[in-house]
C-alpha cells in the first residue's frame, strides 16, 4: 500500500534542498568544501526522493496496481461557488492532493531517476561555474515543481507544478543572466508558456463550471458516465487545455521558445528541455484522455498539430550547425510525434515515447554537453569532427542514442516510434505520410550530427566553403519584452568555460561519462516493455497493459489496441526501418564519405533558397517579432500616448477650466484673507511659475477651509441645539 507521508516526501525533499541551498547560495563563497556541501544537499535530496519514488511505485504495484491511490493533504482553495439566495449549489473545494496510478508512476520514475542522473552529471559539468550553488538550487526547485505536476490529483495542483516548472525553466535558461541572449531566452520561454497557460487556466475554469470539480477522478467519472452529455463542451475544454500543452511542450505555434532555451547550461537542456518538463503537455493530454476521447474534433487537432510540428521542426533540424540547436529542434519534432500518438488515440504509445525519448534524448544532450565541455565551450559542429579519437566514451554512448532515436531495432526508440506510426496508419493516411517523412529527417539529422562531430579529422578552424550562416538580425536593438532572440552567431552555454586557448579535445570526467553509459544502456533496453506481438512480445504489450487502468473509462482498450493484420503489421515495421535506413544513408553519403562536405555544400548552393529558409527556421521568429511583438508594442505606445495626452489632457483641461472660472474669483479672497491662516497647509507657493501654482494651491487651501468651516459649523449646530 502506498504511504501518503512517503508520497509527500518525494517532492518535499528537493524543495527542502532548494531552500537550504538557496539560503547558502547568497552567503557562501565557492570553496571546494562548500561545493561538496552543495552536492550533498542537492544530490542527497533528489537521490532520496528517487529511492522513495521507487519504493512508492513498488508498493503501488504490490497492492495490485488496479485502482488509483489518492490522498488529500488539506483543503487548499475553498472555491465556494455556492450562491446564497435559495439556490443550493454544492460549493466545492480544491484539495492539495496527490494521485498515484500507472500514469503518474511512470512519470514519477522518469522524473526522479533521470533527474537524479542529470544532477550527478551536472556536478562534473558545472564544476567550474561561479553560480554553482545557485544552479543546484534552481535544479532542485525544478524537481519539486515537476513532481507536483505529475503527482497532483487535480488540475489545480497540476497547474502549480505546471507554472512552477515554467519559472524554473525561466531561471535556468537565464542562468547566465549577465548575457543578454540568455536573459532574453528566459523571458521568451516564460512568456510563451504564459500564453499557453492562459488557455490552460480557461480550460480549468470551464472544467469547474461544467463538472463542479477539478479532481481527475471525479471529472473523468462524470464524463465517462454521460459521454453524450459532455461531448460538446469537451471539445472546447480539450482545445483550451491543448493550448496549454502547445506552450509547455513546444508545439506549433508556441514552439519558438524551446530552441532559444538552449542558452541554458546543457544539463538543464537535458533535464528540462528534453526529458521531463517539455513532456508535461503530453502527460496532461494523456491524463485527460477521457475528455479528449469524447471529442474527435479535438483529437484531430492534436494529431494534426503534432504531425505538422514533427515534420516542421525536423526539416529545420537538418540545416542547423549548432549541436544543441539540432537537438532542440529534434526535441520539438519528437514531441510532435508524441502528440500525434495521443491525437490518434495511441495514448500509451505517447507515454511510451515520452519514456524512451527521456533516455535517448537525455543521453544525446548530455553527450553534446560532454562534447562542448571537451571542446572548451565550442558548440558549432563545423568546428568539431574527429572527436571519436579524443572522446571514445562520449562517442560510443552518443552513437547508441543516435541509433535509438533514428528508430533502428531493437533499440528503445524503434518500438515507441513504430507503435506511433502504426496506429497513425490505422487512422489517418496523410498524417502517417508526414510522420514517415519526419522520421526520415530524424535519422538524417541525427547521423549528420554524429558524423560531423565524431568522424573525419578535428577541425578547430571550421570548414572552408561550407555554408556560413549569415548573421541574423544584425544591429537589432532591444525592445521591451521582445520575444526575439538570437543575435546570429552561435552562443556557447559555457559562459565561464576554459575556452579561447589552443585546445585539444579531451574526454569528460567519470561523473559525466558514467551517466552517459547508464542512459545509453536504458536507450538500448528501454523498449523491452513495448515489444509487439509480431516481434515476440505480447498483445497488448506489457506497457499497454500497465497503462490500461488509466484508459479504461469509455472502453479505452477498444480505442487503442485494435489488432492489425499480420501482413500489414509486418509491412509497417519494415517501412519504419526503411526510412531510418534511408536517413542514415543520406547522412553517410553527404557527411561521412565526403569529409570536406563538398557534396553537402553543393546541395546547399543548388537549393540555396530552401537551405536559407531552413537555416533561418522559416523566419518564424522574425514574423512573430514583427507582427505580434511589434504590433502589440506599437499599440501599447499608442495607448501610452493616449493616456498622457488625451485622458490626462482632459483631466488637466477640466482643471484649467475650473481654475479660470472659480480660481479667479477666490484668488482675491484667498490672497488677502486666507493666506496667512493656511500657510502651513499650502507648502507649495514657492518657486517656478508662481502664479499658476498659486491657483492650484488655492484649491487645496479652499478645500481645507471648507473642511475646517464645516467642522466649525457642525460644532456650532451641536452647541446650539444641545438639549
Amino acid at each position: 500500500m502506498v504511504n501518503a507521508t512517503v508520497l509527500l516526501l518525494i517532492p518535499l525533499l528537493p524543495a527542502l534542498g532548494a531552500l537550504i541551498n538557496g539560503l547558502r547560495a547568497a552567503a557562501s563563497p565557492l570553496t571546494p568544501k562548500n561545493r561538496a556541501v552543495t552536492n550533498v544537499i542537492a544530490l542527497g535530496s533528489t537521490g532520496l526522493s528517487a529511492i522513495l519514488a521507487a519504493w512508492t511505485v513498488i508498493a503501488y504495484v504490490g497492492g495490485g496496481a488496479s485502482a488509483a491511490f489518492q490522498h488529500a493533504y488539506y483543503t487548499w482553495i475553498p472555491a465556494g461557488l455556492g450562491h446564497a439566495a435559495g439556490n443550493t449549489i454544492a460549493s466545492f473545494a480544491v484539495d492539495f492532493a496527490f494521485r498515484i496510478d500507472a500514469l503518474s508512476c511512470t512519470m514519477l520514475l522518469i522524473v526522479t531517476w533521470v533527474g537524479f542522473l542529470i544532477h550527478v552529471y551536472a556536478t562534473g559539468y558545472m564544476a567550474h561555474e561561479e553560480g554553482y550553488t545557485r544552479f543546484f538550487t534552481y535544479l532542485n526547485l525544478f524537481m519539486f515543481m515537476m513532481l507536483l505536476l505529475v503527482l497532483g490529483a487535480n488540475y489545480m495542483v497540476m497547474f502549480v507544478g505546471w507554472e512552477g516548472v515554467g519559472l524554473c525553466s525561466y531561471l535556468l535558461i537565464g542562468f547566465y543572466y549577465d548575457k543578454n541572449f540568455a536573459a532574453d531566452a528566459g523571458k521568451k520561454a516564460f512568456v510563451a508558456n504564459r500564453i499557453g497557460d492562459f488557455g490552460f487556466i480557461l480550460g480549468v475554469f470551464l472544467i469547474f463550471n461544467t463538472f463542479g470539480t477539478a479532481d481527475f477522478g471525479k471529472v473523468f467519472a462524470l464524463a465517462s458516465a454521460h459521454p453524450q452529455a459532455y461531448a460538446g463542451i469537451a471539445t472546447t475544454i480539450c482545445l483550451l487545455l491543448f493550448v496549454g500543452a502547445c506552450g509547455k511542450s513546444a508545439q506549433i505555434p508556441l514552439y519558438v521558445w524551446l530552441p532559444d532555451a538552449m542558452a541554458g547550461p546543457t544539463p538543464v537542456s537535458a533535464l528540462i528541455h528534453a526529458a521531463t518538463m517539455v513532456t508535461a503537455g503530453v502527460y496532461m493530454v494523456v491524463r485527460s484522455n477521457v475528455l479528449f476521447r469524447l471529442s474527435p474534433d479535438a483529437m484531430l487537432v492534436v494529431a494534426t498539430v503534432g504531425a505538422v510540428t514533427a515534420i516542421f521542426a525536423a526539416t529545420i533540424g537538418i540545416a542547423q550547425n549548432d549541436i544543441k540547436k539540432v537537438l532542440a529542434y529534434s526535441t520539438v519534432s519528437q514531441l510532435g510525434f508524441m502528440f500525434l500518438a495521443a491525437g490518434v488515440g495511441a495514448f500509451t504509445a505517447a507515454i511510451f515515447h515520452v519514456m524512451t525519448h527521456a533516455f535517448f534524448k537525455a543521453c544525446l544532450f548530455l553527450g553534446a554537453g560532454s562534447v562542448i565541455h571537451g571542446c572548451g565551450g565550442e558548440q558549432d559542429m563545423r568546428k568539431m569532427g574527429g572527436l571519436r579519437k579524443y572522446m571514445p566514451k562520449t562517442r560510443m554512448t552518443m552513437l547508441i542514442a543516435c541509433i535509438a532515436i533514428a528508430g533502428f531495432p531493437p533499440l528503445a526508440g524503434f518500438f515507441s516510434k513504430d507503435e506511433i506510426l502504426a496506429t497513425t496508419y490505422e487512422h489517418h493516411g496523410f498524417l502517417y505520410f508526414l510522420g514517415m517523412v519526419a522520421a526520415t529527417c530524424t535519422a538524417f539529422y541525427m547521423f549528420r550530427l554524429y558524423f560531423m562531430t565524431f568522424s573525419g579529422d578535428y577541425r578547430a578552424a571550421g570548414v572552408v566553403g561550407y555554408p556560413e550562416s549569415e548573421p541574423e538580425h544584425a544591429g537589432h536593438d532591444v525592445i521591451p519584452g521582445s520575444l526575439h532572440l538570437d543575435d546570429g552567431d552561435v552562443h556557447s552555454d559555457k559562459a565561464h568555460g576554459h575556452h579561447a586557448e589552443a585546445h585539444t579535445p579531451h574526454e569528460s570526467p567519470w561523473s559525466m561519462t558514467g551517466v552517459l553509459w547508464i542512459l545509453a544502456i536504458l536507450a538500448v533496453i528501454g523498449g523491452i516493455v513495448g515489444i509487439p506481438q509480431m516481434l515476440g512480445g505480447t498483445h497488448p504489450t506489457i506497457f499497454q497493459r500497465w497503462l490500461l487502468p488509466v484508459l479504461l473509462p469509455l472502453g479505452g482498450e477498444h480505442f487503442e489496441f485494435a489488432e492489425a493484420s499480420r501482413m500489414q503489421e509486418a509491412l509497417l515495421i519494415a517501412s519504419s526501418v526503411a526510412v531510418a535506413f534511408l536517413g542514415w544513408l543520406l547522412a553517410y553519403v553527404l557527411y561521412k564519405k565526403d569529409a570536406a562536405f563538398a557534396r553537402a555544400t553543393r546541395m546547399a548552393t543548388r537549393f540555396a533558397f530552401f537551405h536559407r529558409l531552413l537555416e533561418n527556421k522559416y523566419y518564424v521568429d522574425e514574423f512573430y517579432n514583427f507582427v505580434f511583438v511589434g504590433g502589440t508594442l506599437a499599440f501599447s505606445r499608442a495607448l501610452s500616448w493616449f493616456d498622457a495626452n488625451i485622458i490626462d489632457g482632459i483631466v488637466n483641461g477640466v482643471r484649467n477650466l475650473t481654475v479660470v472660472v472659480l480660481g479667479h474669483g477666490s484668488w482675491l479672497f484667498d490672497r488677502f484673507i486666507v493666506d496667512g491662516a493656511v500657510n502651513g497647509v499650502g507648502f507649495s507657493a514657492r518657486g517656478g511659475s508662481r502664479f499658476f501654482r498659486r491657483m492650484q494651491s488655492g484649491f487645496v487651501q479652499n478645500y481645507a477651509l471648507v473642511m475646517g468651516g464645516g467642522i466649525v459649523l457642525i460644532a456650532a449646530v451641536y452647541l446650539f441645539t444641545k438639549p
Binding site: 487548499w76 465556494g80 446564497a84 463538472f211 470539480t213 452529455a229 460538446g232 519584452g481 494651491s697
Partner: protein, 537 residues
C-alpha cells in the same frame, strides 16, 4: 464591551501627539518611536484578529457612542470579514514603511513620522467606521497626510502631483458627501429616525432614479480612489513623485479604500442599481486590466510601470466585486491584500535602488543581479507574486476572481485573463532591464547590497506571500459569512434574482452523477447582458 478597535485606531494618534514633544533634531529617537508605535498598533490589530469570531457574518467587536446625537451621527465602529484583513494590512505596512525609510528621510523626520501615523489612524478609521459620516471624515482625513507626504518629501514635480492627487480624489468624494446626506434623509423620511449608522441604513428603500443617482455619486468617489479606467491618471503622477513610503501606503492601502467602499456601501445600499450597472463597471475594470498592462509595458520609468500595473491589478479587484458571486468577491478581497503585499514590496524594492542610484529610468540600470544578488532575489519574488505564480498569494486571488467571474461574465473574463499574460511581459521586462544583461553603466558596478532594515521590512511580506499562496483558507474562511450576507442583500433584488437564476441554471446539477442536467450540455451561452460584444476587442 471590547475596545480593541478604538485602541488600534487611536494608538497611532496618541503616538503622534507624544511625538510633538520630541525635539526636531532627535531623528533616531523620532524614527524609533514611530516604529515602536506602529509595531504596537500592529500588535493591537492582532488583538482584533484574536477577538474575531469566524462564523459571524455581521459587524463584530462593535463600539457605539453618540457623537452628534441631534443628527444621529455616532462614533460607531465594527469589523467584519470584509474589513478584517484590510485593517491588518494597514497595520502591517506602516511599520514596513518606517523600516524601509529609516535611512532615507533626512528632511523633517518628525513631520514625516507624524504624517504616517495620522495616515495610519485615518486608514484604520476608514475600515472600522460603521457610521457613514464617521467613515467620510476618515476617508477625507487620509488625504491630508498623503498630500503632505507627496508635496514635501516627493520628487521634482511633487507639487503638481500632490495637488492633482488631492483635487482629483476630492472631486469624487464631495459628490459622495451629498449622497450620504441624501441617503440619511431618505431614511429619515421613511422611518422618522435620523441616523448615519450603516447597518440601519441598509434597508432604506429608494426610488429607482434616486438609487441610480446615488449609485453613481458613490461609485464615482470610489472609482477615482481605486482608480478605475479612465479616472486613473492621478495615480502614476502621484506614485512617481511620492517618496517610497508614500507609494507603499498609497498602492498598498489607499487604493483599497475604493474597492472596500464598493463592497461596504455601493453593493448593499444600491443593490438594484448595482445589478443594473454591474456590466458598466465590469467593462471599465476589464479595459483597465488590459489598458493598464499595455501602458505599463512601455513606461521608461520604473515607478510609472508599477503604478500602471496597479491600475491593471485593481481592475481584477473591481471585476471580482461586480461579478457578484461568492467566489469572485472573496477573491477580490484577498486580492486587495495580495496587491498590498506584492506592490508594496515592489515599490519598496524600487525605492531601494532609487535611494542608491537616484534614477527611476530603466535605461540607467542593467546587470544589478551581479552586484546585489540578495536584493535581486527579493525583487524577483515580489515580481512573481505580482505575476500570479501559483504557490504564491497573487495566484489565489486572481484565480478566485476569474473562476467566479467566468460563471457570470465568461467573455469579459477571457479578456481579463489576458492581463495575466501581459503582467508576465511587463514585469519580466522590468526585472530583465534592471538585473540582467551585462553591467553597462559604471555607476552600477558598486551599488551597495540591500541593508538590514530593508531586509527586515521585506521578509514579513515575502512570508505572507507564501503563506497566503499555500494556505489561503486561513484567510478566506474568515470572509465567507460576511460575503455571503452581503450577497444575500444584493441578490434579494429583482435584477439580482434574475442574475442568480441565470447562473444557477448553468451550474445546477453539478455533482449529480446520475442526472446530467440539460443545461450542462451546453457551453456557457453568451449572456445577453454582456456589454463587451464590441467594446473591448
Amino acid at each position: 464591551m471590547n475596545y480593541i478597535l478604538s485602541i488600534t485606531l487611536w494608538l497611532p494618534v496618541a503616538a503622534a501627539v507624544i511625538l510633538l514633544f520630541f525635539p526636531k533634531t532627535a531623528a533616531s529617537a523620532i524614527k524609533g518611536f514611530g516604529l515602536l508605535a506602529s509595531l504596537a498598533t500592529f500588535v493591537a490589530s492582532l488583538g482584533i484578529l484574536n477577538g474575531f469570531h469566524e462564523g459571524v457574518a455581521g459587524l463584530q467587536l462593535t463600539e457605539s457612542l453618540a457623537w452628534i446625537p441631534q443628527w444621529g451621527i455616532r462614533y460607531a465602529l465594527g469589523v467584519d470579514g470584509i474589513s478584517l484583513w484590510l485593517i491588518l494590512l494597514t497595520t502591517l505596512l506602516t511599520p514596513v514603511v518606517f523600516l524601509s525609510s529609516w535611512n532615507t528621510i533626512h528632511k523633517h523626520p518628525k513631520e514625516y513620522v507624524i504624517a504616517f501615523l495620522i495616515m495610519e489612524a485615518a486608514m484604520i478609521g476608514v475600515f472600522v467606521a460603521s457610521d457613514l459620516l464617521l467613515f467620510y471624515v476618515f476617508f477625507e482625513l487620509t488625504l491630508l497626510p498623503m498630500y503632505l507626504v507627496i508635496g514635501v518629501w516627493g520628487g521634482a514635480n511633487r507639487i503638481y502631483a500632490a495637488i492633482k492627487f488631492f483635487l482629483f480624489t476630492i472631486a469624487g468624494s464631495l459628490l459622495m458627501l451629498l449622497g450620504i446626506i441624501y441617503l440619511a434623509f431618505a431614511h429619515f423620511h421613511d422611518t422618522g429616525v435620523l441616523t448615519f449608522t450603516i447597518t440601519e441604513l441598509y434597508g432604506t428603500t429608494l426610488a429607482p432614479h434616486a438609487q441610480v443617482l446615488l449609485f453613481f455619486a458613490f461609485a464615482l468617489a470610489f472609482a477615482i480612489k481605486v482608480p478605475l479606467f479612465p479616472l486613473h491618471t492621478w495615480l502614476p503622477d502621484a506614485h512617481v513623485e511620492a517618496p517610497t513610503g508614500g507609494s507603499i501606503i498609497l498602492a498598498g492601502v489607499m487604493l483599497k479604500m475604493g474597492t472596500y467602499g464598493f463592497l461596504r456601501f455601493v453593493l448593499p445600499f444600491f443593490p438594484d442599481a448595482t445589478a443594473k450597472y454591474a456590466g458598466l463597471l465590469i467593462a471599465l475594470a476589464v479595459i483597465g486590466i488590459v489598458y493598464g498592462a499595455l501602458v505599463a509595458w512601455v513606461q521608461p520609468d520604473m515607478k510609472k510601470l508599477v503604478a500602471y500595473s496597479s491600475v491593471s491589478h485593481l481592475g481584477f479587484c473591481v471585476l471580482g466585486i461586480f461579478a457578484l458571486n461568492q467566489t469572485s468577491i472573496e477573491g477580490s478581497i484577498l486580492q486587495m491584500v495580495n496587491h498590498g503585499l506584492s506592490t508594496g514590496a515592489l515599490f519598496l524594492c524600487v525605492g531601494v535602488i532609487y535611494e542608491r542610484r537616484h534614477t527611476r529610468l530603466l535605461a540607467d540600470y542593467g546587470g544589478l543581479a551581479k552586484t546585489m544578488p540578495v536584493f535581486a532575489t527579493f525583487f524577483i519574488i515580489a515580481m512573481l507574486s505580482s505575476v500570479g505564480l501559483p504557490g504564491l498569494n497573487g495566484f489565489i486571488g486572481e484565480f478566485l476572481i476569474l473562476a467566479g467571474s467566468f460563471q457570470t461574465w465568461p467573455r469579459a473574463t477571457i479578456v481579463a485573463a489576458t492581463g495575466v499574460i501581459l503582467a508576465a511581459i511587463y514585469l519580466l521586462w522590468l526585472i530583465q532591464r534592471v538585473f540582467f544583461g551585462p553591467i553597462t553603466k559604471e555607476e552600477n558596478k558598486n551599488v551597495r547590497e540591500i541593508a538590514w532594515n530593508e531586509v527586515v521590512a521585506l521578509v514579513p511580506l515575502v512570508v505572507l506571500m507564501v503563506w497566503i499562496g499555500v494556505r489561503p483558507n486561513v484567510f478566506l474562511r474568515k470572509m465567507t459569512p460576511s460575503v455571503q450576507q452581503l450577497l444575500q442583500i444584493v441578490h434579494k433584488t429583482d435584477a439580482g434574482k434574475a442574475m442568480i437564476a441565470g447562473v444557477g441554471r448553468r451550474v445546477s446539477g453539478v455533482g449529480d452523477q446520475n442526472r446530467p442536467h440539460e443545461a450542462m450540455l451546453r457551453p456557457p451561452t453568451p449572456d445577453p447582458r454582456l456589454p463587451l460584444s464590441g467594446g473591448v476587442r
